[in-house]
Amino acid sequence: MTLSTAEFLDPLRLTLQVAGLATLAALALGTALAWALARFRFPGRDLLDAICTLPLVMPPTVLGYYLLVMVGRRGFLGAWMQEVFGVSLIFTWQGAVLAAAVVSFPLVFKSARAALESVDRDLEDAARTLGVSEWGVFFRVSLPLAMRGILAGTMLAFARAMGEFGATLMVAGNLPGRTQTLSLAVYSAVQAGRDDLAQALVLLVSAVCVIILFTTAKLIQPKY
């Protein structure tokens, strides 16, 4: 049986697109929340930490179900989006980004929090004595010092987003060319008895993952 390039490249393009955007979202939100929880003490802090870590321990299908209930056409968030914007996230690649972002968020959050907490407070205070604003302290002192930990967490988050299956299937469905990421494509290929396609896709995923892991490891290596 011949393989068409579309069957091969469409899932790859979709996966990189979905995983990339999901990781960026997880990175931004994860770092922001991690910084807030690392710097401030407030009632309910530990509870918030537990909620942020929850997607890591919950089965993806459970997460997918919660997302479906919230973001579906009859869910409180989904109905609102339908009314105000006229869009539904279900069965769209944007929905897949949401699912992937939710599952990979805790990976960035946990690593970022640990990394930010390990930054020496004295260095931050020294910056403050030199007249740097709070934003400046974060971006010029805390963040660079915590960067390796945050990047390690982001790398894990990207890998997790690339492999996301259960929650994506429930929220975005398995629509070839539109939401069928590499994991879903392998699943469908096996179901359809297309072993040739399944093998090709699996090799592709493995190669992409190795390249990404290798490149990122090189990037976060200390430069001395």
Binding site: L68, G72, F91, N174, L175, Q191, G193
Partner: protein, 250 residues
């Protein structure tokens, strides 16, 4: 020492009933659309055969075929169309002599009860109001294959491609309908009935042809007598009222 012996004894005691139950389990791989009616007939069959426990494995007929092909230990296989059973017979996965047809169904076009897209017939599917049409994946879900056959016959298959939302089984399409995530979908009459008030049936789709359910004994079964009894039971008058109640034809 005493404590350890007691714990070990307890663990073994727990394992024994589990092992005994497995010995008389009859594993029936059946198409997803048969879920409820098979649950209904289970107590009737088990009352006739004391000691036997029927264990159901429900999925789309194509998925079940793939499982059998890979050596899954089922005793009975019931599919929702002729195609998958023919393939199973061809590969000697089932005993050809035991094969019978035990039920019929029809394909319908259904909508979520509020019907926001105001669909009235299959011809409305090309309209702008309809954005999402649920259909089983034709490659392994018989309901999807029947629907594709109908849409091809009506010259609508190509034009409706961008609107099709594939479901992994006919029950998933039903779930989408119940949740209102799709504007309409192709399910069996029995599934639409199962959906109750949340789903409204618009019309049967005669272009899909006759929906026939064949059943047969799996050739690698170790309980051929019990499996044959189950196969015969499905087509018998004792099971008939349950099938009729769920909306199946005979």
């Amino acid at each position: 020492m005493h404590r350890r012996l007691c714990s070990l004894f307890l663990v073994l005691a727990l394992l024994v009933p589990a092992a005994a139950a497995q010995a008389a389990d009859l594993i029936v791989s059946a198409a997803a659309s048969l879920t409820d009616v098979l649950k209904d007939v289970k107590p009737i069959f088990e009352a006739k055969h004391p000691g036997a426990t029927v264990v159901y494995n429900m999925a789309s007929s194509g998925d079940l075929y793939r499982q059998l092909e890979s050596g899954a230990p089922a005793d009975v296989y019931a599919s929702a169309n002729i195609k998958w059973m023919d393939k199973a017979v061809e590969k000697n996965l089932v005993d050809k002599a035991t094969r019978i047809d035990f039920a019929h169904n029809s394909l319908v076009l259904a909508v979520p009860a509020p019907n926001p897209a105001k669909v009235k017939a299959v011809s409305d599917l090309t309209g702008k109001a309809v954005g999402r049409i649920g259909i089983g994946v034709p490659e392994h879900v018989p309901a999807g294959a029947y629907a594709k056959k109908a849409l091809v016959a009506l010259n609508l298959w190509d034009v409706l491609q961008p609107k099709l939302i594939p479901g992994e089984s006919v029950r998933q399409v039903l779930d989408y309908l119940v949740r209102g995530e799709i504007d309409c979908g192709f399910v069996y009459a029995t599934d639409a009935k199962k959906g109750g008030d949340a789903v409204a049936t618009l019309a049967t789709v005669p272009e899909a042809g006759m929906v026939t359910y064949p059943v047969a004994v799996v050739s690698t079964s170790t309980k051929k007598d019990l499996a044959q009894a189950f196969v015969t039971f499905l087509a018998s008058p004792e099971a008939a009222p349950a099938f009729a109640a769920r909306g199946f034809g005979k």
